[in-house]
């Protein structure tokens, strides 16, 4: 298979085991994101793929050639991999063109030069070829780094939190541009990030790495968001509302109505996690649902986050995402229901107490 195959990779620094039997497949032309909290071993996995770290257990195969196993260690320069790391590390003393040429050791000078110009053209930086990195914006430096990574026509591109040094506005634009270049180029790309939105935006497939070094779920972005298989995965995307309850007849009752739990046995103690957009507020005359009281609203721009509490007097607060059509200031008699697309049921850890509360994001 053209692309990257990693399997059975475990890694420890002394007693600190950071990766536990991790497997990833990245077919040529695809972008797979490894998403996980800081310190879970994402960079370690990239360094292992790159050959910058010696593999302890498992195998790494690039375009059907084993580059690392318990008997093989191909040196980084012979793996034909392009890198782009957070501090894209352009050489300050080289101009843009020479920075890109630098990556193509071994090719004839004139060929390397024309290839470098071609790549700079692709990322829209050909006009800046003679400038030095410090005169460029962060976004421009990022594009040069991308051109440098792609110029030697790598079989595999490794991106380690490549956009985290950019400010919010720039980040959105640069990642869109980068995605465009990568798709045109058709290279297999493994990108790591701790930013779920970035992973959702970029990836054909997301692999979630938990803090124990295990892959928790691998799926299309849509599936990760709407069908999280693990409590940790559900909680990655920000605030969650939570009710604790018990399964009865494959249903779970909450103060806002019942939620289906088709695969769970009766009597199991569970937590129901509901995304802020999964609580629907209505305030017209015929609105059905559970009465709630408004506590505060927070305008985010594209939508509002509204804090409410059950009118029945329960002290727990809920966070609700509402869109422009709902103006909380003008609402009377607000009723809340659950949109089950955004509600997930997970077994409750036995030792865990508590009844209902708000769950902070894992990140």
């Amino acid at each position: 298979m053209k692309g990257l195959l990693i399997h059975g990779v475990s890694h420890a620094y002394g007693d600190n085991k950071v990766l536990d039997k991790v497997a990833v497949v990245v077919p040529a032309g695809e972008l797979v994101c490894l998403l996980g909290p800081s310190g879970c071993g994402k960079s370690t996995l990239l360094r292992l793929a790159a050959g910058l770290e010696v593999l302890q257990e498992g195998s790494i195969v690039i375009d059907d050639v084993t580059v690392a196993s318990n008997t093989v260690h191909v040196e980084p320069e012979n793996r034909h991999i392009g890198f782009m790391f957070q501090d894209y590390a352009l050489f300050p003393h080289l101009n843009v063109l020479d920075n890109v040429i630098f990556g193509m050791v071994g090719s004839a000078a004139d060929k390397a030069r024309s290839r470098a110009m071609e790549m700079l053209d692709q990322v829209g930086m050909v006009d800046q070829a003679s400038k030095h990195p410090h005169t460029l914006s962060g976004g421009q430096q990022q594009r040069v780094a991308l051109a440098r990574a792609l110029a030697p026509e790598p079989k595999l591109l490794l991106l380690d939190e490549p956009f985290s040094g950019l400010d919010t506005n720039m980040r959105a634009r640069i990642r869109e541009e980068t995605l465009g270049v990568l798709k045109e180029f058709g290279v297999a790309t493994l990108m790591v990030t701790h930013d779920p939105e970035e992973a959702m935006f970029m990836a054909d497939r997301i692999k979630i790495l938990g803090s124990d070094g295990h892959i928790l779920q691998a799926a299309r972005p849509h599936e990760i968001y709407y069908h999280p298989k693990h409590e940790f995965v559900a909680k990655m995307f920000g605030l969650m509302n939570r009710f604790d309850s018990v399964v009865v007849n494959s249903q779970v009752e909450t103060p806002l109505g019942s939620v289906a739990a088709p695969d769970m046995a009766d009597g199991i103690k569970v937590q129901v996690l509901i995304r802020p957009e999964g609580i629907v507020l209505e305030s017209h005359e015929n609105a059905s649902g559970t009465a709630v009281e408004l506590l505060s609203t927070h305008l985010l721009g594209h939508d509002n986050i509204v804090r409410v509490r059950l009118a029945s007097g329960s002290s727990s607060e809920l966070y609700v995402r509402v869109h422009h059509a709902f103006e909380p200031e003008l609402a009377l008699g607000i009723k809340a229901t659950i949109d089950s697309d955004y509600a997930f049921v997970f077994p409750l850890d036995v030792e865990e107490g508590g009844s209902s509360s708000l769950v902070k994001a894992a990140q």
Partner: protein
């Protein structure tokens, strides 16, 4: 098209043959879609799902018989893939009307067979080689 190169082999004939059959079925579906022949998709994907489920049962029975220590974990992994079958079947149903459904179906099938099924199995390759 998916090709089962040697890096993906468990070197355990019964399972490798099953995997090859599943790969063949995935390739047959991709070929049909690429030829613009999407009417059969639903039936072919349903066959693929049935084939996969039979394979999972067979593989689990085998892992039990050789006392593979993580058999429960692997069984759970297979169980977690049920959602993906549902999505594939939905895409397949839409395939005749919707090009994006075709593309997503192809992609989903490739990742499923290569990443979720075969690469996940490589975890017990060494164990099987010692039995």
């Amino acid at each position: 098209m998916v090709e089962l190169t040697s890096s993906f082999e468990l070197e355990f004939d019964a399972l490798d043959q099953d995997h090859q059959k599943m790969v063949d079925q995935v390739n047959a579906i991709i070929k049909k879609i690429d030829a613009g022949n999407t009417d059969d998709c639903k039936a072919l994907v349903a066959d693929f799902v049935a084939l996969s489920k039979r394979h999972f049962a067979r593989e689990e029975a085998l892992l039990v018989s050789v006392h593979y220590p993580d058999v429960e974990k692997h069984r759970k992994h297979h169980l977690d893939l049920n959602d993906k079958f549902d999505h594939m079947l939905e895409f397949a149903k839409m395939a005749p009307e919707n090009d994006m459904a075709c593309e997503s179906l192809k992609k989903e099938l490739v990742y499923f067979i290569m990443d979720d099924v075969i690469t996940a199995d490589l975890e017990f390759k060494d164990f099987l080689s010692q039995t």
